[in-house]
Symmetry: C2
Subunit: 314 residues, 2 copies
Amino acid sequence: MTAFSFNKLVIFGVGLIGGSLARALRVRGSSAREGARVIGVGRSASSVSRALELGVIDAAATLDDEAALAAALDGADIVLIAAPVAQTQALLERIAPHLGSETIVTDAGSTKSDVIAAARAALGARIGQFVPGHPIAGRESSGVDAALPDLYVGRNVVLCPLDENAPASVERIAAMWRATGAVIGEMPAAQHDRVFASVSHLPHVLSFALVDQILASPDAQLKFSFAAGGFRDFTRIAASSPEMWRDVCLANRTALLAELDGYTEVLARLRAAIDAGDGAALETVFARSRAAREAWQERGGKGAAAAIETAPGK
Amino acid sequence: MTAFSFNKLVIFGVGLIGGSLARALRVRGSSAREGARVIGVGRSASSVSRALELGVIDAAATLDDEAALAAALDGADIVLIAAPVAQTQALLERIAPHLGSETIVTDAGSTKSDVIAAARAALGARIGQFVPGHPIAGRESSGVDAALPDLYVGRNVVLCPLDENAPASVERIAAMWRATGAVIGEMPAAQHDRVFASVSHLPHVLSFALVDQILASPDAQLKFSFAAGGFRDFTRIAASSPEMWRDVCLANRTALLAELDGYTEVLARLRAAIDAGDGAALETVFARSRAAREAWQERGGKGAAAAIETAPGK
């Protein structure tokens, strides 16, 4: 962990992601020094009151009180947007009029190309103040009650720096995440979106699709009755938030469609092998998949930090 | 648990499934009475020696010793075939010459229509002595060292009785599995194969396919580096045995292709919704999938026994 201190951090959306950052900086960082304040901003009083109650934030402001919003942003070192990606542009448009020249804005969205486009639209010439980020740390639970000080320990945070970003700004955001125990990776936004379309967004779509297919079949209840461990693991992510995944699918549409089309081709090849009774072809695919899956598991299985060193874009 | 006693049980293939049955009957059943013997049959001496060493079986025979095989089968109450489904017909052809008129044969294969066809070919007019079965109890590990006396507690065992089976024969096999703590369901073989194509075989193919797609992509290592919890759960079953799943795909080809085609149609609809930016359609599918997945989890999540009562065919 590296030293990281701040005077004022403003978090838009104090849920699992934003709340865990606040808790981590309070508990773990040198940021626990006197005077460092975390301000939470929510859509309404009720959405931030629980975060205040839990002591996750020191003060709150709401979007419906322009003066409070201005006061919250005044003199902020860092602003984190930890709201659904579809809200990014609207939030940045509310932030822009009050954005100090020394303030760095970052985000926690699962997609990056669309967030960057939204930031360019909202911030214009001040786009250099926005450092795109993505902490890879979902949990099945959500909301500020699920926030944990050690959520980010050993997890990856991907930054997608812009040409307009000052290196010091990128390093400041990296230092904040490092203080939570996270490991920092960097890559271009387009590559980020391809990678996560493949290893996260596509599997969610595939998992939702399987449950939907079963539901639509005439013997759905019988099928669910006999579903066992394989089904349980495969469909765990189908219990994820429909709104969040709707937004992710639309926000990362281009990369996701490309991955989905590639996947459909793989399935078509496997279908042909099954249809032709080509056991050798099936076994070849299954065996190399198993070997790759096992190698991944052995390397740590949750975004192995060592491998990040080789990531292009660093 | 119901009373179940036997004089001689012969198990072809003493691995996880056959070994766990032997252990369960020894530990749990009234079968632990004096004189009840479990004989293991393997391809070679080495394949059964470990089972003998562990005390899972009382005696062993091998397929390469016809006299020992005849002696093993002589006077057997029950014969269980717990070998890969592709070996069923060859094993039944070896068993047939020594099959006593009072002996009941059953199996533990993941597919049933092909096993029944193999049994009809091998047993001819004596097909009534064969009661097709399927214990739903895989584990990540395999082999007799992984065998557990409580593997079947609370698990489903599906029987697919034939018109030729005497009701007493079916009840005898059901009683054996009940003695292990399992819950018995019955359904026709074609329905069994559809159900497991949907909730087990298809998800395995889909999981292998995702890993294979990533492997074939130019930035495979980067993708694996950032794969996290969703990927881990979704691809856990891609660590399964390539040989076993090759055999299952071929053995259950018809039902699996039908499910695969249905799934491809669901994916095509989701693709169209993503392409059209139709968030409402995506959210509808995701929300009803999540609700169904959560309801399944709440009902017990591993083949809820209560739901079996409603299974057609009982």
